[in-house]
């Protein structure tokens, strides 16, 4: 087969690009992955951690669909914690500190061993466009590659500018060149471009840190895992994280350096994330706080470098050094890499369809930071989706996008394409209105079957998943048939009082004070499979809430299923105000449900749309008849 022709081309080998490439190749498409530098495939450009609240939900969904991120995090994870352990299963999350080198190696190995996937080290400088279709890419050496679907996952590399103090230079990440040719080429196409900003803290040589002064935070035991396939045995050696704090002295140093901060002197136009502010931002905006927490993350097992999370900064190097040394434990710290802020181009995500295909150029897909998001997990989730839909386009299948009620991936994409974003978009559980059904413990039950039918899930995963499902069924049937009588003190030890009648065990589990593990143990019904018994327990305990959310989902679903033609002339819809029709024009919602979620679109406007569509459809039917 020609070395120039592929089914799908992925540009960029970060977290979005690798998932996109793997998904497309797994689905049987001849896939080309183009990366500026093969050595940086799977690189963690920011802090060395995967997961966290809302984010591990995404990672588990990627895993349920056969993606690589969770397995790599398990192979590279040197410290695992469960967050929100006691606030309930839906908001429970897993975070894995990773050894950067091990993570990269794990991803590289998956990529290299993936059938149908070809990797070439080339920087993409242009797109081959015919009419309103993309047909391929051109690299810096002038090589032409052709495919009917191209996925751009270029991260912060488009027009990237790095700031340290008043110094600025072009760059896509410290040490890597930006993609300026591609950026200026894309600016010629009809996309709406904006600027965003993000930043990192200075990295520190751990040999110069006085750990005796710091509070250690060990990982959890037993160790949580990211992937449904992992057991914990794939984890390497585990280490601790540490916590320290800034002081008033730190804040004084920062205030004195603000006149040389690119953030405060107007050098940076891009909007940064509110939930991940730089230390200078925190000091200015929360001036009454005398101290801010710093979370010290190990960079890996074979390096002394550490990542002090919480002091992201673009202040000049001398100020960075002084502020670091004013922190407890860092008195003699040596900075190995200065912190910096980076500004980059992103494209208005409201110009995307739910497949992540751009509305302006057919066959072109965007995923990751280019769409205004931040975070490895958000990028990987989009990459996976874009890869799936690029492959489905090649296979002439309809696009696939999970609904808001099915997956955080659906929430992420719907938020982006419906509401757009003004700051780097990060996932939070509070963004999901169906939070109680979108748990990290049931991502496989929500998605693996769909993944399997799309060709994303391999035999091993499918077998394990099928076994789990039948295990859940068997257990809950067993519990429903096991009856206990009043006076059974093995059971009444939990309930605290005598049972009023005969109960089966499933009924008993509805009570908040009865836990499945203890109940099974007390009745000598040992069940070793925690994942299965956990599902049975949550299904029973949350049944009322899940039913309620399901009713809400069904109500919205009927609207979600009503599609709107992509070329609808909103100006012609009688009664719509100018403001509303402009908003609808900007987003071009795919369904009535999506239209209703656009801010400013009132229920009355939705009614007017429904009436218009009905008339439209009826007159179209008349014409064709």
């Amino acid at each position: 087969m020609s070395e120039k022709h592929f089914d799908v081309i992925i540009v960029g080998g970060g977290h979005a690009g690798t998932e996109a490439a793997l998904a497309s190749a797994r689905m049987g498409c001849r896939t080309l992955l183009l990366s500026q530098n093969i050595e940086t495939l799977g690189q963690m450009s920011c802090n060395p951690a995967i997961g966290g609240i809302g984010k591990s939900h995404l990672v588990k969904e990627i895993d349920a669909l056969g993606g690589a991120m969770a397995l790599a995090a398990d192979q590279a994870g040197i410290h695992f914690r469960t967050l929100n352990a006691r606030k309930g299963p839906a908001v429970r999350a897993t975070r894995a500190q990773s050894d950067r080198a091990l993570y990269k190696a794990a991803i590289r190995s998956v990529l290299e061993n993936q059938q149908n996937l070809y990797i070439i080290q080339q920087s993409v400088e242009d797109l081959v466009v015919t009419g309103d279709r993309v047909e391929g890419v051109v690299t810096q050496m002038g090589l032409h590659f052709y495919a009917s679907a191209v996925v751009l996952t270029v991260g912060t590399f488009l027009g990237g500018v790095i700031h340290v103090g008043m110094e600025k230079q072009q760059g896509g990440r410290a040490g890597d060149a930006p993609s300026n040719r591609l950026a200026s080429r894309l600016r010629e196409l009809p996309f709406n471009v904006g600027r965003l900003k993000t930043g990192t803290p200075p990295r520190i040589d751990g040999k110069t840190v006085d750990y005796s002064e710091l509070q250690a935070q060990p990982g959890d035991e037993p160790r949580p895992v990211m992937s449904y396939l992992s057991t914990g045995e794939e984890h390497p050696q585990q280490v601790s994280c540490f916590i320290t704090h800034t002081s008033e002295k730190t804040h004084d140093i920062i205030r004195a350096g603000l006149d040389r901060s690119p953030l405060y002197t107007g050098e940076i136009d891009g909007v940064g994330p509110r939930y991940c502010p730089s230390i200078e931002d925190k000091v200015v905006r929360f001036a009454d706080r005398s101290s801010h927490q710093i979370f010290i993350e190990p960079e890996g097992l074979k390096t002394h470098e550490i990542y002090p999370n919480g002091i992201s900064t673009s202040l000049p190097y001398d100020v960075q050094l002084a502020l670091v040394r004013s922190i407890k434990g860092f008195e003699n710290a040596h900075i190995t890499r200065p912190g910096y802020a980076i500004e980059y181009d992103f494209f208005e995500p409201r110009d995307l369809q739910s497949s992540l295909q751009t509305r302006h150029l057919a066959g072109l897909y965007f995923a990751g930071q280019i769409n205004g998001t931040t975070g490895y997990e958000e990028a990987a989730a989009q990459g996976l989706l874009a890869g799936i839909n690029a492959a489905r386009q090649v296979q002439e299948l309809t696009p696939w996008c999970p609904d808001r009620s099915e997956a955080y991936i659906g929430v992420l994409v719907d938020d982006l394409i419906t509401l757009g974003t003004k700051e780097p978009y990060r996932m939070f559980t509070s963004r999901a209105e169906y939070r109680l059904v979108l748990r990290q413990d049931n991502a496989d039950r929500r998605l693996t079957e769909q993944g399997h039918s799309m060709g994303l899930v391999d035999d091993r995963r499918w077998r394990l998943f099928s076994e789990k499902l039948s295990g859940i069924e068997t257990l809950s049937e067993k519990l429903s048939k096991h009856w206990v009588q009043p006076g059974d003190d093995r059971v009444e030890a939990f309930t605290g009082k005598q049972l009023s009648r005969e109960y089966n065990l499933l009924e008993l589990l509805k009570r908040p004070e009865v836990e499945i593990k203890a109940l099974l143990a007390a009745l000598d019904m040992d069940n070793n499979n925690v994942a299965e018994s956990e599902q049975v327990e949550i299904d029973v305990k949350y049944a009322g809430y899940i039913v309620r959310q399901q009713q809400e989902i069904d109500r919205v679903k009927s609207q979600q299923d009503l599609s709107i033609p992509s070329d609808l002339d909103y100006v012609a819809v009688a009664g719509l105000s100018n403001e509303v029709s402009q908003k609808l024009c900007a987003v071009r919602p795919e369904t009535i449900g999506q239209a209703a979620r656009i801010s400013g679109v009132t229920p009355a406007a939705v009614s007017l749309l429904l009436i218009y569509l009905k008339r439209h459809k009826a007159s179209a039917a008349l014409k064709s008849a």
């Binding site: 929100n84 006691r86 606030k87 905006r285 801010h292 509070s430 229920p603």
Partner: protein
């Protein structure tokens, strides 16, 4: 069809004397019929029945009519309860239907469903669109008016309290490492209790009817000394059914409640409209203009005697100042002193001094209102708001029960979210992005 909700609304204008019709459409019709009149009547046959509340007490008596789908106005199962009218009784009937699981219809929604279910000709699409458009803007206006004064203060303080609670709970869920934890904070439980108490009080007060009986509003507008105040005294003074006297919110706007042919009417006297330099007067005019913008009806008062020569021009000038208001009547006052030869359709000759023509004025207003209240007035707007509060408090009460059980953090959060969703119908949507924005403004988040 796409809608699964059962909807209900008053299908007739509110009034004390006539018949009031409550219409119900959707899958719950059978349940509503069985609960309220004991059985589902035969389709299309009128039956005389007692309308019962949840305790089985008779709310009203009247005719009940059942139309089986698809042979009904909306194409769905429809039930019509025809009672004796009167705002309080009809409200009780609607409240019972809501209690049984229906929701209040959106403006124009019965017609919308009729259209979407092929019960109307395609050529009527424009007309339905117009109806929805005008009914919705009228409803929005009424909702705004319902949210004035004491009611609004209380609603706003409830919403504010709810947002504070949610910010705290959601921040400790999404940012567990920022040293915020509501599960360990007894203040959250106390705040929850306070909130439930506040909503309870508000519902109780409103349930007594004082807030619901505000009725239709009519603003008296005109130049200073046109005789607005004396006309107002005329209208209220001669009417024996004054029920309350609400103190004016400002020195210049005076409120009084009267009943006009059974319809509660709030008369609002305003400062004279003229351009002055005195800051107090400017403020008075500003408030008058605001009242006029919100009013259901404007009674333009003209001093005939002062405008013998330029009457038509003067009236046109006054009408031009009305912001898009079509519902107006011109009272040609001081008719005892001088009368024009020609009086047009929306005008009436009256003398506040002698009382002559006041009955005609009343009749004209009542006629106008009769046309008007068929679309959504303050009464329904406030009923909507109370319905939202009812649903909100149910969530909070479940939340209270959950707070004691400290593994149920996410469930409490869910109850607070659904409470906010209900109250959002009053104050507009509060999105997850708004919530995150408030969190970032309140806590220093981020590593």
């Amino acid at each position: 069809m796409y809608e699964k909700d059962t909807i209900t609304a008053l299908a007739t204008p509110l009034g004390k004397g006539g018949i009031g019709v409550v219409r119900v459409s959707g899958p719950l019709v059978e349940l509503v019929a069985k609960e309220m009149v004991g059985e589902l009547p035969k389709s299309r046959v009128a039956a005389y029945r007692n309308f019962l509340d949840a305790q089985g007490t008779v709310i009203d008596q009247g005719l009940v009519l059942y139309f089986k789908a698809p042979n009904s106005f909306t194409g769905e199962d429809v039930l019509e309860l025809q009672g004796h009218g009167g705002p309080v009784v009809m409200n009780l009937v609607v409240a019972r239907v809501l209690e049984l699981g229906a929701r209040l219809a959106k403006p124009g929604e019965f017609s919308e469903r009729a259209f979407l279910n092929d019960k109307m000709d395609l050529s009527q699409a424009e007309a339905i669109a117009d109806l929805i458009d005008s009914a919705s803007s009228q409803a929005a206006k009424s909702a705004l008016r319902s949210l004035q004064g004491e009611f609004s203060k209380k609603v706003n303080s409830i919403i504010k309290g709810l947002i504070e609670l949610r910010v705290y709970v959601e921040a400790s869920i999404d940012f567990p490492e920022e040293e915020i934890d509501f599960l360990d904070n007894p203040k959250i439980g106390e705040d929850l209790d306070t909130l439930v108490e506040k909503i309870d009080q508000l519902i109780e007060q409103a349930g007594q009817g004082a807030l619901l009986r505000e009725g239709v509003s009519i603003v008296l507008a005109g130049r200073p000394n046109a005789g607005k105040s004396s006309l107002m005294n005329c209208l209220t003074g001669q009417d024996t059914s004054i029920v309350t006297e609400i103190a004016g919110t400002t020195r210049d706007v005076v409120n009084e409640l009267i009943h006009l042919e059974g319809v509660p009417v709030r008369l609002i006297d305003t400062a004279g409209l003229r351009k002055g330099n005195n800051p107090v007067e400017i403020e008075g005019v500003r408030r008058a203009e605001k009242e006029i913008a919100l009013a259901d009806y404007v009674l333009v008062v003209v001093d005939l005697n002062a405008h013998r020569l330029d009457l038509t021009a003067h009236i046109d000038e006054l009408l031009a100042t009305l912001p898009k208001v079509e519902n107006y009547i011109v009272a040609l006052n001081k008719a005892d002193l001088w009368q024009p030869e020609h009086v047009s359709e929306k005008q009436v000759l009256v003398s506040a001094k002698t009382g002559k023509g006041v009955d005609d004025l009343r009749a004209l207003i009542a006629e106008g209102i009769g046309l008007r209240v068929s679309s959504e007035g303050t009464f329904i707007a406030r009923a909507r708001h109370l319905d939202a509060l009812q649903r909100g408090i149910q969530s909070l009460v479940r939340g209270q029960a959950l707070f004691g059980n400290n593994t149920a953090g996410e469930l409490l959060a869910e109850e607070l979210r659904s409470c906010q969703q209900a109250l959002g119908e009053i104050t507009g949507e509060f999105t997850s992005d708004d919530l995150l924005g408030t969190i970032f403004a309140s806590f220093c988040i981020g590593k």
